[in-house]
């Protein structure tokens, strides 16, 4: 049985009862716009009516991309995606779950990583020319890229390039970053699948491992990992002491101080704001600053911004390996269309998920000739432009 009193308290904290039913959330929601008959407003309505059974049984509880567009436009200050997280956790407790993509393999991997007794071989990709350390002030949190590149080898996606490039850049700056041999999944996707318990376990493990290294700064190429450390861990009572930075922030600093000099390039770039980096953490400028350095001018602008950029940016279409479907593809197709129509050569990404999801649609049988673009991570592009 659902403890409705407790749930009610939790819902109150999301401000859901303040809903004005204005429908702005639904009007900006990409899921609603590009596909299904999904309505955040209706879900709020059902929540207010405490129609939890219907909510839990609805496929659409798991459809929210948690892109946070709705929160940004809500006049009542409702934290809709937090409400989503809350309801998903309850739904999971009640035995419901989202439609896992890839037969749930990625969720399984994350859960497997909660085992204390695991001895991963996750650093096999670190070649001798990459200088890394086991202790030090700067830690680079790799994320699940090593797994993704094997799992998505059919897509020939290379999310590890971000890590390799980041380490090379750091090395050139005289930094040998700490890499955790026993880094675990940050737990982001599990939490958004409603699994707070395993999320917390992963968080604890990672923070413990990090604390042994003496790290004062943690750098991330993955926007989801960063937002997990920055927002979700503290939200779930896990204290993160080191300073947390996305690689783009780190690079922007170094460019600003002149430590990092970038060559000019003919490659024109457009940039995909990851939801986590943008709307979740408000980091819009730094990636642009890095990418703009050395980029060719286009009517005075170094970056070729897409129709929806910055705060209005469009999500890559799937979240937490759930509910990938026709709507996801429609969103991705639209995003690729927007990217392509900027005339840019390269679509820069700051999150491996954006890279995977957009690559998947780009390589699609029906679309591959239409939206051929190079998709690359910010660090990889930056490394190319280094002296």
């Amino acid at each position: 049985m659902i403890d409705t009193i407790e749930l009610n308290d939790q819902i109150k904290r999301t401000n859901a009862y303040a809903c004005l039913e204005c429908g702005k959330c639904t009007s900006v929601c990409p899921v609603s716009r590009y596909g299904r008959d999904y309505s955040p407003r209706m879900l709020l309505n059902r929540t207010i009516r405490k129609d939890f059974d219907a909510i839990f049984q609805d496929y659409d509880l798991w459809s929210c991309l948690t892109c946070k567009k709705c929160d940004d436009v809500c006049l009542a200050g409702i934290q809709y995606i937090e409400l989503t997280q809350l309801l998903r956790s309850k739904a999971l407790e009640e035995g419901f779950k989202g439609k896992c993509s890839h037969a749930g393999a990625l969720q399984s991997l994350s859960r497997i990583m909660t085992s204390e007794y695991l001895h991963q071989n996750r650093l096999d990709w670190v070649t001798d020319d990459l200088g890394i350390a086991t202790e030090g002030e700067i830690l680079y949190f790799v994320g699940c890229a090593p797994y993704f590149d094997v799992f998505f080898s059919d897509l020939e996606v290379t999310t590890l390039e971000a890590a390799q490039s980041s380490i090379r850049i750091l090395n050139r700056l005289g930094i040998e970053p700490v890499l955790l041999a026993d880094e675990r999944c940050c737990g982001h996707d599990l939490l958004w699948n409603g699994d707070a318990e395993n999320f917390t376990r992963l968080g604890k493990h990672n923070l413990e491992e990090i604390s042994k290294t003496g790290a004062k700064t943690i750098l991330f190429s993955c926007a989801e990992c960063l937002s997990t450390f920055k927002s979700l861990y503290p939200q779930w009572g896990l204290t993160v002491k080191p300073e947390l930075k996305h690689m783009s922030q780190f690079l922007a600093e170094k460019v600003a101080t002149g430590e990092l000099e970038l060559q000019s390039s003919d490659t024109s770039i457009t940039y995909q704001d990851p939801c986590r980096l943008g709307r979740h953490l408000g980091i819009y400028d730094e990636p642009r600053q890095v990418l703009a350095t050395g980029s060719p001018r286009d009517n005075g602008a170094p970056l070729r911004e897409m129709q929806q950029a910055g705060k209005r940016s469009l999500c890559c279409g799937v979240s937490a390996w759930m509910n990938c479907d026709r709507t996801s593809k429609a969103i991705q197709t639209e995003r690729l269309r927007q990217a392509k129509s900027t005339g840019a050569d390269v679509l820069a990404v700051a999150c491996p998920k954006c890279q995977i999801h957009l690559t998947c649609t780009m390589k699609d049988q029906l679309l591959k000739d239409k939206y051929g673009l190079t998709i690359r991570d910010i660090s990889a592009l930056t490394l190319e432009r280094m002296q």
Binding site: Q120, D124, V150, D325, A330, T361
Partner: protein, 787 residues
Amino acid sequence: MDSEGHIADLLVQSKATISFESAGTPQAKPIAVVEPSPCTRACPAGVNVKAYVSLIAAGRFQEALEVVRQRNPLPGICGRVCTHPCEVACNLGDIDSPVAICWLKRFVADYELTHPQAKPEPISQTRKEKVAVIGSGPAGLTAANDLVRLGFGVTVFEALSTPGGMLVAGIPAYRLPRNIVAAEIDAIRHLGVEIQTDSPISGDKAIDRLFEEGYRAVFLAIGAHKGRKLGVPGEEDYRGIIDCITFLNEANLGKAKKPGNKVIVIGGGSSAVDSARTALRLGSEAVHIVYRRSRKEMPAHEAEIVEAEREGVQLHYLAAPVRVLGKADRVTAMECQKMKLGKPDESGRRRPVPIEGSEFEVEADTIITAISQGPDLSFLTDDQGVELTRWQTFAADEGTMATSRPGVFAGGDAVTGPSTVIDAIAAGHVAARSIVRFLDGEALVQAEVSGGLVESEIEVDRKERKPAPRATMPMLEVADRISTFEEVDLGFEAAQAVAEAQRCQRCGPCSECYVCVPECDKITTILSTPQGDGEAILRLPGNFELPDQAGASVVVKSGRRKGVNLAVFPVIPQVKEELCRSCGDCVAACEYEAVSLIPKNGDVSVARVDPDICRGCGTCVAVCSTGAMLPGYYTGDWLTQRLASLDLEKRNIVVFACHWNGSHLDDKTLQDMHGKDIHLEIIHTMCSGRINPGFVFEALESGAEGVLITGCSSHDCHYDFGAKRAQQMFQNLERLVHMVGFKPGCVCYKQIPAADSARFMAAVDSFVEGLGKTKPNQRAAELEAVS
């Protein structure tokens, strides 16, 4: 969709073939049988040989036994003493050696003794007519068994004190232990057959009296117990000459003493060899068999002759008795004459011709005659109206077993002279059928000639055949058997039986064992469908209107069996359109080109599976990243259910096994092989191409210590490309498993030749063994952490 009717009716409705698509025992179309396999056709009694061998191959021993029993009420007996024409017919005989069918039958019969089943309910008499069966040998017992099953009252009259006829009177216990005979006769009795022992039919008008007592039909199955005389001088003059049946009967009853020190057995049939070996066991020092033709013509089975020789019996071929020599009143020797082989006689064997002047003497104090037997007709007075042949056997129509007297039927050795148990069983079936027609007032019909060696059109592909030696029968050492009547052949172990049955090439179409049909709950295993009652995978034709939902109910009736409710799970995947990203992965995966992308509206396309082309391997389902491709079976939920049965107290091994792999051993059999501390979960898929990393990770996450994926090799993949896909999938999987830190070898992919369950078992064995090195507590801790 609820439709009721025979499978064949469904067939007509859909104007196409419904076949049980499964590598389980019924392999192919259960309806359109082209030609039975050679073994099945060779059995005189019409036992569905292929079916029971296949069931044994699948580790389904009890069902195999039930299949045998449908046509043979004496499986344990025939499993020991049958002359097995099925093995002669076996296609493998031309290649290496036939499947040891007879010993397999023995194995399942023995298996039941050690794994007792609930007895079937006695059959109540639903017909008022009573039938008298004279003689409780295999012919009589078979007829009685058939008749009682049809609701008739049956009384069997047995002259001897123990039922079984020649089975107990003639065949020694070292070949046929008496507890086996007793158990099988008891089972027939239990059904409702009344057997009166010590009840010879004798005296005046013996048959008339039976009719007067109310029996409406009589089956004369008295066997051939009366030994024929040698017809040589001196035969009647001395003590020490005994006929083999008398000798064997006394020995079998434990009454016989050592017949003498020097024994000569005259004859070359089973009774001769049995007599010789029995004499040895009773302590005779020298035992000779004298046979007038050469070894090749000896009617006794070669294996029996070999064993007799190993035990020390001396054989003399091409020698015939001429005269019995004696001193005082006791036999001292037999004078014999050498023979040569002339032209073939009517039996097709070359006639022995005496060589003049070649007489020689063999010293003996005892002579056992075993030259042939006839029925003991002393009870029959001329006015009984039953005509005899010139060989003093009953004259009966071999297609109906009818004698010259209406209502009186005869069969078995009493008609044919000494023959085999399986021929007697065949005769019993024919007689029972005729008796039913007679009692129903219908004209008798000739039975189809079953058995015999007909050239089969079904051939085994010799090139495909992997050499596999026939299993040898474990036997008692000569020294251990020679002084006892302990059974010489020890029988197979379960693993041996399964391996031997797996040598069967399953010639021909579905064996139509139909074990799938009447027993809903078992369909799940035999067709290897998801667990639960009444689920079966039917490969439905393209134009067959599928139920909206997987699992919809169809009532299927098969023959006179009860109708069963089958939940229909379409083999052909259905596409959940709103989930379809039209990425084309499925299109790329399906090399049959059964999947295509169909424009929906505007830019949107969806995958569509052409049911006429799709063969249901499930590879497209495996590659679908969103789950839009819905299998009718082996859904994710079902997998989760199966994995929920892992026992965290034990070491769990999950095997994802391709249907076609010969992996259809029942879990119990496999479990027994791996001991109590291991929980083995065998999860079938149509093809190894259906496996994706999600399956494997879920198994590992659920507490599996190891996951074995088995599939056929690329060249014999039933779906042509499934194995290739599995291989590609595994390459990635292996890297992921390594990366996440599971110990090496805990996830393994093995290619096994299709339908080779011996190799399947070996793969499971070596996988389990390979895992065996983990320290138990480390594993427990891992499990705890993951679960």
